[in-house]
Symmetry: C5
Subunit: 240 residues, 5 copies
């Protein structure tokens, strides 16, 4: 039995045929910055949540209200669903997380996914800003070079890609080159530009730089503090 | 299947529409001090217990009798339920604890929660003693500043807040500024004053200082002793 | 589903209304010494066993035959049940152990428990040899001082006490002052004397001292050896 | 639900009333040497297997063919079942292993067990080569001294003994004195001699010495190599 | 309940009587190199996947498209199934992996297995390049020496062998001598030559050397990088 649950506050029938977009706080925080920027700029409505067994005890007020670790947004005009992952799930949950969400996606008749990650820019060799790949069922062609053969994709996005392939879904994976060491809004902007082309959007990238700076200064510092606390094992005390 | 069980010794139908209040032994022990003080001063009747899988082996005599780790009290006059958490649950249980209790709360038709935590006073910037936040369904407005955007709330209280939001319950979170290093009765008093305003109570805060001192000297010392014992792994011995 | 099972070789209907007594190998081994002494002196018949998931691989011949970790005895004349815990269960099993046994006790209509533990004698302040406490449903009064408020009771006995309270059973907890460092037959004798008064028995305490000495020299040394072996992780070897 | 499964390739009805014999690779490897020797000398037919959740990844060709960790043999003439444990199960599986097999033994109407272990010869005090003990239901008497009271028996054999007692089965435990440091074929020979007397067999002990030497040189060296590999955690690598 | 699932995209009835071939990334990567080479040279069609609970987050583009950790291929002409294991499963999953797949193999009426592993060439004593063994139900005879008695076979292939024996399947295990320290295409070539003889194939071994070199330089370096990352515990961070 899955330990990952999707709580939807909207009639799933209305989501049929939508495009599902997500990304994680991995290299350069690109997947997170891009999806958050998209949800905010498009003024998307939150329509649900993902809840997991190892749900992190982190809550905060974001621009749109009280944020939960995995908020689901919907863009009515363009029929888009964005899963915004404020928190990177625990690694032991990654497979369950990806498998359960892909299963839900399939169940509510969504057939298209766009997954946003990043590549370490130290390995960039040509002029391109972005590489991409797709699952077997995807018919699209993009004007970017594909990921090199034998080059490994890792992290939760890799699992979303694997489960999309296994479930015969059409998924595109966008991998802009990004800086590993810090949040990289330029790389997120590259992803937004690719999304604009693929989906016929016109999302501006201006505030991305302030959002990234804000996240780097405030949220990220606190996350680091939180991580040090966790490492100290402070939490298995009878009192805190 | 949940590993958290609510044992109720009262007809749940009589609890409909009550206000549920809880807090934990986190920063400055504020949530614990305030809820314990409220239960004692209002002479509340114990009506139940929460039992968990990783139930701690800690029992003691409190003012009201034999205390269990998570005692549930009821105030008949003001229709209040207080969950008094003498022990901080194990972190691995936090999500199950919060999710199960919120689910129970919803099932017995309680719609209002007041959650009492604290903020580290080293980060206090203005004159206010307390910040607060609320879930989307909450219509109340308080005469205190709201929690800053992007400032993280952590611990079991964060999970109570998240699950309240997800379950469309109305919850207020009170966060007085408190001293991280010791029990902070002044911060607990601030919380009590806010509760008095919100609930139309008139609970005095005088004995809070003695209660806090008592807890600091006696109970807390023993908890520390207990924690050192646990760290030493003394308990997996064939004899003790 | 519980991982703790009571195997009874007697018709449970015959146990209705009996008094259930138990103790553990904790401070001074008092609970164990007292219950073992009681079972042997009263010539009790073994009527069952408790089996757990993390059942220890320890068997030996005791005075009454082949001993299992948790043997259940019955005294027909005085209608007493003694759970003799030769082994301290693994800490991760304590709650399941206590909860399951209390549930079984309730199911077979036993309403009275006497739990035997100990208090560290370094904290003794007056002249009394023993302190005690009781659950809410217990009507008895003993001629000893009650445990101080806010003084913590820990270990498996604390969990038996908590679950007795939660299940509305009448339980007395006897806590003689004992030496932490070694087996303390004098403290066990104090517990036996209290039991004699409460149950109208006349169990002599003479051999307690030899039994304790025997246990200290033989059994305890081997238990220590066993513990060192366990700590060395000797057991996950393909051969031993 | 048990994680231990008996796979039988013979009609269980034909095993009614058989004697079940087993031993483990513990002190001096006595239990293993004796049972393997018995199965080989009596030319027993393999009739089944035990499979566990933490089944070890070890296969090899023994004299009788491809050996699995826990092979079950049958001796038609003397109506004997031998469980040959080439591998010591993981300690966390011991209780499940013993409990499940005892339960299976009871279910197919086997009532007699002979369990072969060993005692550390450093503690030998008299002239006897072997001590023994039995469960309550066993009527046999052997011409060897019984195990001393309060002397602990440990390891998986202790759990087989406990579960035999709990399930009211008749079990004899043979404990020859053996050398802890190496394989001890002399001790295994003592066990074979005792078996010969109890079961009316005439198994010669000559090749025991070569079998032991072979095991010591070949198999044991590899087991040690394997253990070092395991300790190095080599196995959780993406490639090996 | 198994945590290992076979996802088949082909009617299983068409696989009856096929020969199942697999190998792992163990000594010299022989099993992996040989099976991958076979699948590519025979232009096999991917017909399914194995998904596990501890599914690794690794995806990449191989010659045939987007590779998942455990891809299942089919050769229509020769009625062969190849399970290509790009990733070595976590050791705690090995038994479940082997047992579940053997169970599936049996269920879809496949009776023949060829398992490809390797032997450490430091222990080679004669002129032979390969040793082999087979399960009891296998009638084949090969023109190579069998594995020495008492020589241990370990790793996931050992579990496939054990479960094949237990389930009465016919399995051949090919063990070419290989270099432990690096990928060994020569050993993989020996395995391919043996397969050619057994199955009447004519697979050339030329490109094996480039494939191995490619894997050594690219894929293996990344796997090592990945392993260092895992060891650093980078993945349980709130952000990455």
């Amino acid at each position: 039995m899955s330990n990952v649950k999707v709580v939807l506050k909207k009639d799933p029938a209305q989501l049929r045929g939508a495009t599902f977009i997500t990304g994680f706080r991995t290299i350069g925080e690109v997947g997170y910055l891009a999806t958050r920027h998209l949800a905010l700029k498009r003024n998307m409505e939150r329509i649900g949540y993902v809840v997991t067994k190892y749900y992190r005890d982190v809550a905060f007020l974001d621009e749109y209200g009280l944020a939960t670790p995995f908020d689901i947004f919907y863009d009515n005009e363009k029929h888009l669903i964005v899963l915004l992952n404020h928190i990177l799930p625990f690694q032991r949950e990654w497979n369950d997380f990806a498998a359960s969400i892909i299963k839900w996606i399939k169940k509510i008749s969504i057939n298209n996914l766009i997954l946003i990650g990043a590549l370490d820019k130290r390995y960039k060799m040509g002029n391109e800003n972005l590489k991409w790949l797709k699952t077997s069922k995807c018919q699209l062609s993009l004007d970017y070079p594909q990921l090199d053969k034998q080059l490994l994709m890792v992290g939760p996005l890799a699992l979303f890609t694997l489960h999309s392939e296994i479930e015969d879904l059409s998924a595109i994976v966008l991998l802009p080159y990004a800086d590993r060491e810090r949040t990289d809004p330029a790389a997120a902007a590259t992803a937004i530009e690719a999304l604009n082309k693929i989906l016929g959007l016109n999302v501006s990238v201006d505030e991305l730089y302030e959002e990234a700076k804000r996240i780097e200064e405030d949220l990220q510092k606190q996350m680091e503090l939180l991580q040090r606390e966790l490492a100290r094992g402070g939490a298995d005390r009878v009192y805190m």
